[in-house]
Amino acid sequence: MEFGGGHGLRAGMRDGAPLAAASLLLGTSFGVLAEPVMGTVAPVVMSAIVFAGSAQFGSLAVLAAGGGAGAAIAAGVLLNMRYMPMGISIAASTRGGWLRRGLAAQPLIDAGWAMSYRGDGRYDIRYMWGVTAVNYPMWVSGTALGVLAGDTIGDPDRLGLDALFPAFFLGLLVGDATEGRRGWVAALLGATLALTLTPMTPPGVPIMTACLAALIALVPNGDDT
């Protein structure tokens, strides 16, 4: 990802700033929706120790519909499943003993992961931490704000906040995540797989399955790299 082309923690923090703004707004949206279902404290603790937007919204939807903890956990786990292949992808870029490597992967989030890719299978782990370092406080404080000011804010969807993250991810995609023709083929295939599976599988499975689109790398190619 270009974004000014920096490396390391500081560059990650700088490039993560636009995302942090979006996280503040979406975190607020989560707080507003979660408060009537989960109370005032649990949503903020969830943002602090789970820190995974899609899983939080997904499990909240289950609880809001009257589902039990088992169903809510299952929904969240499925939505988080994509972090396993993402974790595998950064493994070679982590250093130290097993505990240190496992901890190094904890600040993994979608955008920071995509932005920290440096080609040739390598990720700038410190850069990824930097992106998360500016996002995390915004996500947590946004949630607290939403919990406290829910009555004033009203329906967050009215504000178009659910359009924030697709727009941000599109920026990463057209940035240079799709460098080369194969990147675009993988993107189209991933999106198609996910949309095809959505009506027939639980949430999370479509995104996880979309990872398989990356296997087109195994198809022998001609002049394109």
């Binding site: 270009e2 636009p18 703004a21 649990a42 969830m46 120790i49 789970v50 499990s59 956990i73 969240g76 972090y83 396993m84 292949p85 993402m86 974790g87 992808s89 493994a91 070679a92 982590t94 490597r101 496992g102 901890l103 190094a104 992967a105 995509a114 080609g119 040739d120 299978g121 969807d157 009215r158 504000l159 178009g160 659910d162 359009a163 924030l164 993250f165 697709p166 727009a167 941000f168 991810f169 599109l170 920026g171 990463l172 057209v174 940035g175 990147g183 993107a187 295939l189 991933g190 996910a194 949309l195 959505t198 009506p199 949430p203 995104i207 979309a210 990872c211 990356a214 790398a217 195994l218």
Partner: protein, 104 residues
């Protein structure tokens, strides 16, 4: 403990394992070139899937075109002019989606 709290702690624990299992199990060994080529395409595949599901599906698992699609189109228009204007694009997406909902 309420269902909400059980969910919070269970997701915290499972996500930590999900994120960490790859680096813990694989370590920092060198990867075969085939694996590197697959990783090259993982970000576009996942990002595109997140965009598609986040824009064109609803909570019931239906495929839909609604205000979010208009928001994404607004973001695409911004990127067509300047690929680096992420903040502007994200703002345009939210404002457009909000306007479409206000009119509808």
């Amino acid at each position: 403990m309420t269902a909400a709290w059980v969910t919070v702690f269970a997701l915290c624990a499972t996500l930590a394992v999900t994120k960490g299992i790859g680096p813990v199990a694989l370590g920092d060994r060198e990867l075969p070139i085939t694996f590197t080529k697959i990783i090259d395409l993982l970000a576009p595949a996942i990002l595109a899937a997140l965009i598609a599901v986040g824009t064109f599906t609803n909570a019931d698992g239906d495929l839909v075109i609604d205000a979010r699609a208009a928001g994404l189109a607004a973001a695409a228009a911004v990127y067509a002019v300047s690929r680096k204007s992420i903040l502007l694009a994200v703002g345009a997406a939210a404002v457009t989606a909000a306007l479409v909902r206000a009119i509808a």
